[in-house]
């Protein structure tokens, strides 16, 4: 079985959907001739032509809006944001136009907005954000965040086939750093189902995106001191797999919620509330969160390192929780 990087897996997933369904087409800045800033769409212009791989002006609002309009005509556009930070430039079209249309008067809006997010590559404040909560908080959108190359391919395909607007986050730090066995055939990963990345019994670490790897790193260390950590990879935030979360909490009785996103209003807060509501009796300790602090993402390496949650912080939290 071929081994692909996270980035190659996304590319293959898009490629297969483009081959399979002529209504799928791509819009974005520098995605055609240049193959995309990260080369995700490399080769696609040559293969599928300028009608289906469209280089756009710098107009995020118009790009998203045009995607919505084309979707109403039966197409399935996939919009690339050069960096997910720039999604803010098309915010109105996403939250007011795309998200609410089906609820309001019926038509489906099958668009995917995808792009690289996350920190760890010294991108500075505008090339490193994790802004998923803007869209988690907007009913009508789906939010997908794969952590493995296998899931990246299966989930981008599922997202393209979904009839709702999907915001698809690819973590740029993972792009070339992680690899996986990725089947060459057509397969989907369902949106809304979590994955047990590692089985464990003492502490459940619930997370998504690049932090899944951080959690696994910490888990390996903690194993040596006899703390058995289960890692749950959410894979999507809207919808998310509540049952998997609660099941893990019931099993382990102690939980750490981990995300790279900043603290206030981060997904951990939502999970903590649900766990408290529905699994209170099963808890043997308080719910811990490990997140980035509430600041913009800083540029200089020591500052960025301080900002990002890492394995050590997870280990420290786990030790405190284990002792409770």
């Amino acid at each position: 079985m071929p081994v692909l990087t996270h980035l190659e897996a996304v590319r293959q997933g898009i490629w297969e959907e483009m081959e399979r369904d002529p209504s799928v087409f791509l819009l974005g800045e520098d995605i055609g001739v240049y193959g995309g800033a990260f080369k995700v769409t490399q080769g696609m212009l040559e293969k599928f032509g300028a009608d289906r791989v469209i280089d756009t002006p710098i107009s995020e609002s118009a790009i998203v809006g045009a995607a919505v309009g084309a979707a109403l005509m039966g197409m399935r556009p996939v919009v690339e944001m050069q960096f997910m930070d720039f999604i803010a430039c098309g915010f109105d079209q996403i939250v007011n136009m795309a998200a609410k249309m089906h609820y309001r008067w019926g038509p489906a809006v099958p668009i995917v907005i995808r792009g690289p997010s996350g920190a760890g590559v010294h991108g500075g404040p505008f090339h490193s954000q994790s802004n998923e909560m803007w869209f988690v908080h907007t009913p009508g959108l789906k939010v997908v965040v794969p952590a493995t190359a296998y899931d990246a391919k299966g989930l981008i395909k599922a997202s393209i086939r979904d009839d709702n607007p999907v915001i698809f986050y690819e973590h740029k730090f993972l792009y070339r750093r992680i690899k996986d066995d990725v089947p060459e055939e057509d397969y989907l990963v369902p949106i809304g189902k979590a994955r047990i990345a590692r089985e464990g019994t003492d502490i459940a670490v619930i997370t998504y995106g690049a932090m899944v790897w951080t959690a696994l790193e910490a888990a390996q260390e903690l194993e040596k001191e006899g703390i058995s950590v289960e890692v749950i990879d959410l894979r999507s935030l809207v919808p998310y797999d509540e049952e998997a979360v609660l099941s893990s909490v019931r099993k382990c009785s102690k939980v750490i919620l981990l995300h790279e996103d900043t603290r206030i209003g981060g997904f951990a807060g939502e999970l903590a509330a649900v766990i408290s509501e529905k699994a209170f009796e099963d808890l043997d300790g308080p719910i811990f969160r490990v997140t980035a602090p509430d600041t913009p993402v800083p540029f200089s390496p020591p500052l960025e390192e301080y900002f990002l949650p890492n394995a050590q912080r997870v280990i420290d939290a786990a030790r405190r929780l284990a002792a409770y």
């Binding site: 002006p57 309009g69 084309a70 005509m73 039966g74 079209q93 609820y103 019926g106 009508g140």
Partner: protein, 344 residues
Amino acid sequence: MPGLKAATIAKKVVEPDVKTLERMLYYLKLTREAEQLLERVLYRQGKIVGGVYVGRGQEAIAVGSAIQLVEGDVVFPSHRDFAAWIIRGFTLRDVFLNWLGRAHGPTRGRENTNHFGDVRRGLIPVISPLGDTCPLACGTALVQKQRARGNVTLVHFGEGTTSRGDVHEAMNLAAVWTLPVIFICNNNAYAYSTPTRQQYAVKDLSARAPAYGMPGMTIDGNDVLKVYDAARQAIKRARAGKGPSFIECKTFRMTGHSAHDAAQYVPKELFEMAAKDDPLARFEKELVAMKIVDSKRLGQLEQQIAKEIDEAVAFAESSSLPEGADAVKGVYCEAGCVWQATGV
């Protein structure tokens, strides 16, 4: 390339056929009467909740343009383009059911005013952040261009809306991609309380068009035949693959911004002057002069329209309101849905 002078248009006015003229008269009168009822009766009786936005005095713009659409064309009307819905096949019942927030209306009570549409009928409504529909119009036009059946998209917005970035991005996109989309600007002199001199610094908004590389024109928006002709030319260009156009229709907003707004910031003289320029009165006069209708026929038409409206309103009023629990349903489209209200 840019800008056709008004005089040129006048010489080339191509009269629509008699049937089309009669249809345009019908739509103009229907709009006037229906909006009169919405704004000055139902709203004041408390039967409509929320805002009421009508297009009194601006009716020629929607009628003159939308009447030329064929199957496969798409229109994005503004909140002041009532006639577009009827022209595209919605019924008066649909309209009043939605205004009255009824369960069996086109949005099941979820959206107010005329924020409803139907992709199969090629009508897509605004959302309240105005100008957002312009990029969507580029999207529908992009697909129309690729399908190469000669279809076009019309998108309507006011002069105030032209200050929004979405209009700018869309016009630039439409021109650089040579899309079959026609940008129709209803310049009714006021954006809520903001007069045009506080909205932009050009004399005519058609001055924007050449900057994007598309032709633009400014016309008398209260002359439905001028609107018809300008739209005809733009539609012809678009169908022939020559790309977008911009048409500025000058008119006057004969109401407040909405029903609750007495528009006291508008000098009375402006209302008086505009009243003499009423598009409906002008057209009736013209048709009478052309001997296409007489006062008897006009009377019959009025009666017919009144009857249609009364029936639709009565139907809507007796229709049930939605169940509260319906509010949480249908946020997502599952399993290949193409949800549309049953309507009537």
